[in-house]
């Protein structure tokens, strides 16, 4: 797997590309007028296919790619996507062949090519002389280089690599960009990836970043309000090519097709999709519309059942613990007290972690959902036990005594006189416990339960739209809590018809 920060590809510098766009647009307008250019293009396309046939390209072209190198080669379930993949797909259409991708780590890529595990590599292979001697390399389909990135307000007024002297630059310590920055006099602050580097930059912890142009463009294109800008580019550029075994004979057809794709804007369109800011990031409103449904589904299929099951089990545990707590015998009292004290004295997060991560150490492996149910119902049990005990103890002693004077045993008195009144008293605090529980289910996102928050995180991550997605999640919880408060009022009225308003 190539490190994400090494020298990699772009089609053309920004200004040139805008010119290209203009020319293409002009061409599109002029072609029908001229009446001849279109057939010529169709003819060229035919010639690529002819070449492909002559070159004996297989009907299904097997293409080696990593599948884990965003945004160039990524995998979604069984499908591959990414810049290189889309270019390859378009190329295959033009060549009239099917494509089958073979996921291969970078380290074994060329060995696998040699071993005929696939026919072509599409994985940001950088052109160099040595490679060109060993393999068949296509014409470049994109080129890249280094860029110098600063915060939007650029407090240090850095304009060129030369200005880096004495500045702090956020870099992956093992990358060649770190060296380049260091050579220019920068002090290197180690970071793990692009996102962390960009955060550091925006927060002013560093003054600049030197990194791959395409990676930077992709970050800017997919981040709302990126808050950074590119001020300089390195002189060297590197070109990305497709590679096949020596003497494959594929390259004339591929190069012709690439030429066509370059001419008709196909490559530019794909490039724009990944690396131009103008049209990539979905608006927060699109994201909300798109995810409101799935998040509601997560609420209905996970959050609510999780809450209901845990609450029901928790109440049972609570009743047992409350009775233990009020027992006259020392042992059940001590056990119940310790349970309640431990549950109430330690964070739910740790309780979740212990059940999910630590129990496996004792040989007990539990899936996220049941682990969540166990942790939450034990937690509810501890809190509700105290609620029930307090509710029972809040019933005036006179009620017990009156029950005794009509001849009842303690058990009958508890069942017929005390509990029905305690139920009314317990509704508000139990409903608080229930509302806390609803909110506490959000913690289970940390042990991989795909509930509301986890769904929001998934939705927000690709475009960094955390504000919109978390706000939406908060609204869902708020609504659930409001509904529960409303139900609480009804329960109070129902159970409390015997008390003054």
């Amino acid at each position: 797997m190539p490190a994400p920060d090494t020298v990699r590809p772009t089609a053309a510098p920004g200004r040139l590309r805008r010119l290209t766009h203009l020319l293409i647009a002009l061409a599109l307008v002029l072609v029908p007028l001229l009446g001849t250019a279109a057939p010529a293009s169709a003819q060229e396309s035919a010639s690529a296919r002819e070449l492909a046939e002559r070159a004996d390209l297989p009907d299904t072209l097997r293409v080696g790619t990593e599948g884990v190198y965003a945004p160039f080669s990524m995998r979604q379930g069984e499908d591959f996507t990414g810049f290189d993949i889309e270019v390859m797909d378009a190329l295959a259409v033009r060549l009239g062949v099917e494509v089958e991708y073979v996921a291969t780590p970078w380290d074994s890529m060329f060995a696998a090519l040699e071993a005929d595990r696939f026919d072509l590599v599409a994985n940001q292979v950088t052109y160099n002389e040595e490679r060109a001697e060993l393999y068949d390399l296509s014409d470049p389909y994109v080129e890249t280089g280094g860029v110098l990135v600063v915060a939007e307000d650029n407090p240090q007024d850095i304009q060129a690599l030369a200005d880096l002297d004495g500045m702090r630059a956020a870099e992956n310590l093992t990358s060649s960009w770190a060296e380049l920055a260091e050579e220019n006099g920068a002090e290197i602050v180690g970071v793990d990836g692009m996102t962390e580097a960009m955060s550091s930059l925006k927060e002013g912890r560093v003054d600049a970043i030197v990194n791959d142009k395409l990676a930077v463009r992709n970050y800017i294109a997919t981040t709302p309000n990126p808050g950074v800008k590119v001020v300089d580019e390195t002189d060297e550029v590197s070109q990305s090519v497709f590679a096949a075994k020596k003497d494959s004979g594929y390259m004339p057809a591929i190069n012709t097709a690439l030429e066509e794709m370059r001419a008709d804007g196909t490559i530019d369109a794909i490039y724009d999709e990944y690396f131009s800011a103008e049209n990539v990031a979905p608006s927060w409103w699109d994201l909300v519309k798109e995810n409101a449904g799935p998040m509601a589904l997560a609420a209905i299929k996970v959050t609510i059942p999780l809450t209901a099951i845990s609450f029901a089990l928790g109440l049972v545990i609570a009743l047992v613990a409350a009775i233990g707590r009020m027992s006259r015998a020392a042992l059940p009292r001590a056990v119940a007290r310790s349970y309640i004290s431990i549950i109430r004295g330690t964070p739910l997060l740790i309780q979740l972690y212990l059940i999910f991560y630590a129990l496996p150490q004792l040989g007990v492996e539990i899936d996220p959902f049941p682990a969540a149910v166990i942790a939450l119902s034990l937690n509810v049990g501890g809190y509700a036990a105290e609620v029930l005990r307090a509710a029972i103890e809040s019933i005036p002693k006179g009620q017990w005594e009156a029950a005794q004077t009509v001849g009842m045993s303690r058990t009958t008195a508890l069942r017929r006189i005390i509990l029905p009144q305690a139920a009314r008293t317990a509704v508000p605090p139990l409903s608080n416990t229930l509302i806390s529980l609803v909110k506490d289910t959000s913690l289970t996102s940390i042990i991989l339960v795909v509930e509301i928050v986890q769904t929001a995180k998934f939705a927000a991550a690709p475009s960094f739209q955390y504000l919109a997605m978390f706000t939406l999640a908060a609204v869902y919880y708020w609504i659930i809590c409001l509904v529960l408060s409303f139900l609480q009022d009804r329960a109070e009225t129902r159970l409390g018809r015997f008390v003054a308003a």
Binding site: R328, P396, Q404, T405, G407, R416
Partner: protein, 266 residues
């Protein structure tokens, strides 16, 4: 003293003693209550009147002494509670049997708050005595009629005035068909105007020859209705006799001082 008190005793307390911690509240109290008679217990605040009354039905468990109600006798000195204060099953059942001989009317009435008037009255007969609900309701209606609450049968306690609640408490006690009805200051939490409606009901019960033991400060009630008056103070019975004797001609200085404070506050 009316002739009624000469009948055989229904309640007999013998040498009842009770301490709370170091504080001896009852230091050996004995008395009899004849069948169909009214006994009024007088005494200063904190003198142990409530404790004594509660000892008669096992709501309070004296340290020693014997209490007999009808044919149930409990010798409190022979009870053997364990370390956590719990009695052996047989002894608990003895106490329960004692309790079932009497009805109890509380100062704070203690109606079951989640039950309507009539449900309060039938709870004991139906749940404890196993009476069929239909017949219990019928009797309950008659009792409510008697205490003047027929039209309030389906109200919850909170919807009744203090005097009405106290009368429900009386009906609830009577519904158990007890041998004796115990009253602990039944009117002292009431509005002065409504005291009368409760006392009137109690006088009617006396006339129907219910056996009653009443702790009260209503001296007029004692004088007009009681067959026997007990004045207790310092944990002992200071004076005991017919109301004319104890109230009008008290022999003991403590009784005299107490009555003066009550009757002539200014």
């Amino acid at each position: 003293m009316s002739d009624r008190s000469s009948t055989s005793p229904v309640v007999r307390a013998e040498d009842v003693r009770k301490s709370f911690g170091d504080h001896e509240v009852l230091s050996g109290v004995s008395f009899d209550v004849g069948q169909g008679t009214v006994t009024v217990i007088l005494g200063p605040s904190g003198s142990g009147k409530t404790t004594l009354l509660r000892s008669l039905n096992g709501l309070e468990v004296p340290d020693s002494g014997t209490v007999t109600v009808s044919d149930v006798t409990v010798d409190f000195g022979s009870l053997t509670p364990n370390r956590s204060g719990r009695l052996p099953r047989a002894q608990r059942e003895q106490l329960t049997a004692l309790g079932r001989q009497s009805g109890f009317v509380f100062q704070a009435h203690n109606l079951f708050a989640h039950r309507t008037t009539i449900e309060n009255v039938i709870e004991g007969p139906v749940v404890v005595q196993g009476e069929d609900e239909g017949s219990a309701r019928e009797r309950a209606r008659a009792l409510l009629e008697q205490v003047g609450l027929a039209e309030h049968a389906d109200k919850y306690p909170y919807q009744l005035s203090g005097g009405q609640q106290q009368r429900v408490g009386i009906a609830r006690a009577l519904a158990l068909r007890p041998e004796v009805v115990l009253f602990d200051e039944p009117t002292s939490a009431l509005d002065p105007e409504t005291v009368g409606e409760v006392l009137t009901v109690m006088r009617d019960l006396a006339e129907q020859r219910w056996t009653m033991v009443v702790v009260t400060h209503e001296i007029r009630f004692a004088r007009e209705v009681a067959d026997q008056v007990l004045f207790i103070d310092g944990g002992v019975v200071v004076e005991r006799g017919a109301p004319e004797q104890v109230i009008l001609e008290p022999q003991q200085p403590r009784t005299q001082a107490f009555l003066r404070r009550i009757l002539d506050p200014l």
